[in-house]
Symmetry: C2
Subunit: 252 residues, 2 copies
């Protein structure tokens, strides 16, 4: 059924060199009102010793998103049902000093209880960095040991990716349900749990009363968020009402 004309048309692009394509994954999590990103330390040039985001080359039989999931698992051990959102494709000609590589960047939002990582294939060191926003809008990343990373300490254009990802999450925070993807248990959480996640992403403290109104107004009518009657959790102070989140009933 394929004419010679078709054949030529189809193979024409082979005359051109093709770029390589990678998927890179920006893994975020939240803990105690703070946002964290997972980075891996490069042991080989280029950018040996610098920190980077996990990622790797797309195979011919997988989508860019599948690549992201596979590489994340290979390099960090993180697997399971990871919530991914496509960020942006980075295509600057010289973004990799070795050769032409395009990168499709993904944001992964992972609750801290599912974030069990260990260095994997081609990875020597992995660490979580706290995201610190300064008044002058530049972003710093701080490890538990007090190591502070700035633009220069981060490989390739990954600093740019990180900034874009944070900006995207901040922007989508108030009109989507992305914050729920950071909940350790979407079937069993308190409004304080959820508020700490909002605080982490927005980089500010939400008022406790106003936040309650905001969430309940927005999500209770549609049945997306429902109280679990009778449930409670042992903690200091007055016990909080437990809620559940139902992805299927969400609006958008």
């Amino acid at each position: 059924m394929i004419s010679e004309k078709d054949f030529l048309a189809a193979y024409h692009p082979d005359a051109y060199e093709r770029p390589s394509v990678t998927s890179d994954i920006l893994v975020f999590t939240t803990k105690q009102h703070q946002l964290y990103i997972l980075l891996i330390r490069r042991s080989e040039p280029p950018y040996a010793g610098k920190w980077a985001v996990p990622g790797g080359f797309i195979r011919m039989n997988e989508t860019a998103e599948q690549t992201a999931i596979r590489k994340l698992h290979e390099e960090t051990g993180i697997g399971g049902d990871v919530y991914l959102e496509q960020l942006q494709t980075f295509s600057a000609v010289d973004r990799d000093p070795r050769m032409r590589i395009l990168s499709v960047a993904y944001i992964a939002m992972i609750p801290k209880n599912k974030l069990n990582y260990a260095p994997g294939v081609g990875t020597s060191e992995i660490a979580l960095f706290e995201v610190r926003r300064n008044e002058n809008t530049d972003i710093q990343l701080c490890s538990e040991e007090g190591l502070i990373l700035k633009n220069e300490d981060i490989a390739f254009d990954h600093y740019e990716m990180i900034c874009a990802a944070i900006h995207r999450m901040e922007g989508k925070l108030d009109y989507t349900d992305i914050a729920f993807s950071f909940l350790p248990d979407q079937e069993f959480f308190t409004l304080t749990d959820l508020r700490e996640i909002y605080d982490a992403i927005a980089g500010k403290r939400y008022d406790i009363g106003n936040f309650r109104r905001f969430i309940l107004n927005r999500y209770v009518e549609s049945g997306t968020v429902r109280e679990i009657p009778g449930a409670s959790r042992k903690e200091r102070g007055r016990p909080a009402v437990i809620y559940r989140f139902d992805k299927k009933k969400r609006l958008c």
Copy 2:
């Protein structure tokens, strides 16, 4: 300066097959409260006779965005200072029946007075299609001659791209200044001109008084939109105040 190790590291990916990468461009314009998209008709298989979005293969020395600009010019003659916004990368394995092709999709917002097109390289026919949104949220495209395109009439995954693009523009309409990029003259427009663009993108009619307040509240204080005193334009009815838009002063 390059060690053997580096050399090997650099060339490792050559062991793998690489996908081809294209940039596709979704050209939108507005006219009389309506949104339009530019499509080209395919003359060769696959999808011969179907309508598609312009686009083509990325070269090794250009970014995906530069490809978009170049192909748009080659295929339609449209050039100049085109406002592009990256939409999304499409990477389904079978999205092109010939071979593995990833596509980085861009939205181009072009005022109708700059939209002078003519079939170019590899293009037989070009047309503008009015975007019609039905209540049941599926989108139809209607040409001037009354031709109606639905999902099945559109090549590749381009229908999906179109829907995503419209959704993106609708979403960004109220909290960004994308509508201004459709103004025939950003240095000389009336609020009615601008409102027709908002109507086109949102697919509804804005109230004339409320719209005025919305724009002036939002953009006058920062100096992004300023009145041009004394200016006017001959038309029926009371002459409108003329404004100018200053990109440099826009918020973000």
